[in-house]
């Protein structure tokens, strides 16, 4: 069953077309990768899905209902969580608080409950804390609950971002280059974590990734974007051999004159 579907999605920034008629269908419980050279529009796609950008035309459907243009917090409440390409944690707060904040939609008590510290408040807070600790343990941050986010090592920060996203209890998780800047060992661990996300929690994953080893390793489906357009889609092996993909990564570059003057190579394709 298709969980997320975009149809004819187009987004322009002034003259620049960041997404052009993108059709994407993410199957439930799939690990779906989006790849493409720098500036291809991958992050823009995420921003459209999560409600931070409003697509100019086209539609986005999640579990059958349209979410294009919906406010970001409402999108999040529907069950779409994300991480960021350049880590964006609540930097001065503890790891636990980072996760607790994302549990926000799932904590229910009134302001009065909070002021009077009613049993309802206590129960909700305790349950939230339990869940947050459990999530931190799940991503491997047990025992680091009270460290400030900035004080965590890089790899841990990435995992904390995932724990925070999980706190939304998402059906769909968008990961924007989760292994960027990681060493091979950390990357291995991240791959395992992503697999567990689907295996143990049944979360569908939409993944932007530059590291081709990762992409080939875990994806069920790969979509390739180039200059905002979808140029290929299919199982990783197939996409890898697609001439258009090879061209996009190795071919034109500056010569095309359509996009950024230089198009650095991603990953080790």
């Amino acid at each position: 069953m298709v969980l997320l579907e975009t149809s004819h999605l187009t987004k322009r920034f002034g003259g620049l077309v960041a997404l052009r008629n993108v059709d994407l269908a993410v199957e439930e419980r799939a690990i779906h990768s989006v790849i493409g050279p720098n500036g291809a529009g991958k992050t823009t796609l995420f921003n459209c899905i999560t409600g931070f950008l409003i697509p100019d035309t086209g539609d986005i459907r999640f579990s059958g209902s349209s979410i294009a243009g919906l406010r970001p917090d409402l999108v999040a409440r529907l069950g779409i969580a994300r991480t960021y390409q350049n880590i964006r944690l609540f930097r001065h707060l503890s790891a636990l608080d980072n996760v607790l904040i994302a549990l926000h939609p799932h904590i229910h008590y009134s302001l009065l409950d909070a002021i009077l510290r009613t049993p309802r408040f206590r129960r909700a807070e305790q349950a939230a804390e339990r869940e947050a600790r459990e999530l931190l343990a799940f991503v491997g941050l047990a025992g680091k609950e009270f460290l400030t986010a900035t004080n965590l090592p890089y790899g841990d920060q990435r995992r904390l971002e995932i724990a925070r996203a999980l706190a939304l209890r998402p059906k769909l998780l968008l990961l924007d280059e989760p292994t960027a800047g990681m060493n091979p060992y950390e990357t291995e661990e991240m791959i395992r974590l992503i697999r567990r996300l689907r295996g143990e929690r049944g979360i569908t994953i939409l993944l932007i990734e530059h590291d081709m080893k990762v992409v080939m390793n875990i994806s069920d489906v790969v979509t390739v974007l180039d200059f905002g357009e979808k140029i290929a889609e299919g199982p990783p092996e197939e996409v890898r051999r697609d001439p258009r993909v090879i061209e996009a990564y190795l071919g034109r570059g500056a010569a095309s004159g359509l996009g950024p003057a230089s198009m650095p190579l991603p990953g080790e394709a």
């Binding site: 920034f13 921003n47 931070f52 409003i54 243009g69 919906l70």
Partner: protein, 356 residues
């Protein structure tokens, strides 16, 4: 593009109740102003000559705002921050130059060489303001570059009060009156001669500014940094130096504005920077902060509205002492423009956009 950019309304589904209320209030204000104007014009208390004088005064005042606004806009262009202390930079020149003017007056030089004196005063004031602006940048802003936005904003507020009360401490809290400059007394056609001096002064400064930005290496560096700081640094532009130059140039113009202001309003005081500062900022936003021609246009527009506004908008309602509401009009414009069109009338020009 900020996260809060108005462009986000286009989705149609983003308009929520909070926004409807805001738009409602905006509409109500516009209606009040519009109705008031009609009522005033129908009543016909003011003659055409009076309106003309309002406008002339407004333009003179607006020209001064424009000059100060350029400082805000240039600093915003290169640093993406509001130099909250810029009004005090303006004040420091005017206050300090009072003593030069007073000296020139008492020595008789002002009478014998009015033009030389005037130019000396302008230059002196410009230099003082320039020094103050550069010092503020060096002490209060530079060490905090790259800190969260709130931080330099707070130091800017601090610098503003620090300067105000430093000048109060140095020179006292009394009002000082600039000596009259003999050649600038009286009227020429519908203009006061001081008003003409203001127009000419502002015009010359603007031309010099444009020449500076277009024709010199330093000006080029400023424009490069405004466009993209990182790229400029990579291309070998000395970013620190470009920023200091920006503050220096902005400060110099504020100093000149200070003397021009004193020519028109005679009196100077330690607190005099606050209102013109805020209004010049309003002008800068009105014209699109970061946009140089915008600042000039914004200044003139604001000056004129402020000058004719109280009579035009409120007289028709029979409001007592409508002229007291002059500043209310200015502040209301400020708030409205920040709410409804933060990119200003002419849009953001100097400098790129902020990303999500």
């Amino acid at each position: 593009m900020t996260i809060a950019a108005p462009q986000r309304l286009t989705g149609g589904r983003r308009i929520d109740i909070s926004q409807l209320i805001v738009w409602g209030i905006g509409g109500l204000l516009l209606t009040i102003v519009f109705l008031g104007s009609i009522l005033t014009l129908r009543a016909g208390h003011y003659s055409a000559a009076q309106w003309r004088d309002f406008i002339v005064f407004g333009i003179a005042q607006g020209a001064i705002y424009a000059l100060i606004a350029l400082g805000y806009t240039m600093v915003y262009g290169v640093l993406r921050m509001i130099n909250f202390a810029h009004g005090e930079v303006f004040m420091s020149g005017a206050m300090t130059t009072f003593f030069l003017a007073d000296y020139l007056n008492r020595s008789g030089f002002l009478k014998s060489h009015p033009w030389v004196s005037l130019i000396a005063m302008l230059l002196f004031s410009g230099l003082v303001s320039m020094t103050v602006a550069v010092l503020v940048e060096r002490i209060a802003y530079r060490p905090l570059r790259g800190a969260p936005r709130l931080v330099p904003l707070i130091t800017a507020v601090g610098a503003s009060f620090f300067l105000q009360y430093t000048f109060r401490g140095l020179f006292g809290s009394g009002v000082r009156a600039y000596p009259a400059i003999p050649v600038l007394q009286g009227k020429l056609w519908v203009f006061q001669k001081t008003q003409i001096a203001v127009f000419v002064g502002v015009l010359i400064t603007l031309v010099l500014l444009v020449l500076f930005l277009q024709r010199t290496r330093a000006g080029l560096a400023i424009r490069a940094v405004a466009e993209d700081r990182e790229a400029a640094a990579l291309m070998g532009v000395d970013v620190d130096r470009a920023i200091v130059t920006t503050f220096a140039v902005g400060g110099f113009m504020a100093g000149i504005a200070g003397v021009l202001y004193a020519l028109v309003f005679i009196q100077v005081q330690f607190f005099m920077g606050f209102l013109p500062g805020i209004k010049a900022f309003t002008a800068a936003v009105l014209g699109g902060i970061g946009n140089l021609p915008g600042a000039a246009v914004g200044g003139l527009v604001l000056g004129v509205i402020e000058s004719i506004g109280p009579s035009l908008f409120f007289d028709g309602y029979g409001i007592r002492a409508a002229h007291q509401l002059k500043d209310v009009i200015a502040f209301t414009i400020l708030v409205l423009i920040l709410i409804f069109r933060p990119t200003g009338l002419l849009g953001e020009r100097l400098g790129g956009e902020e990303r999500l």
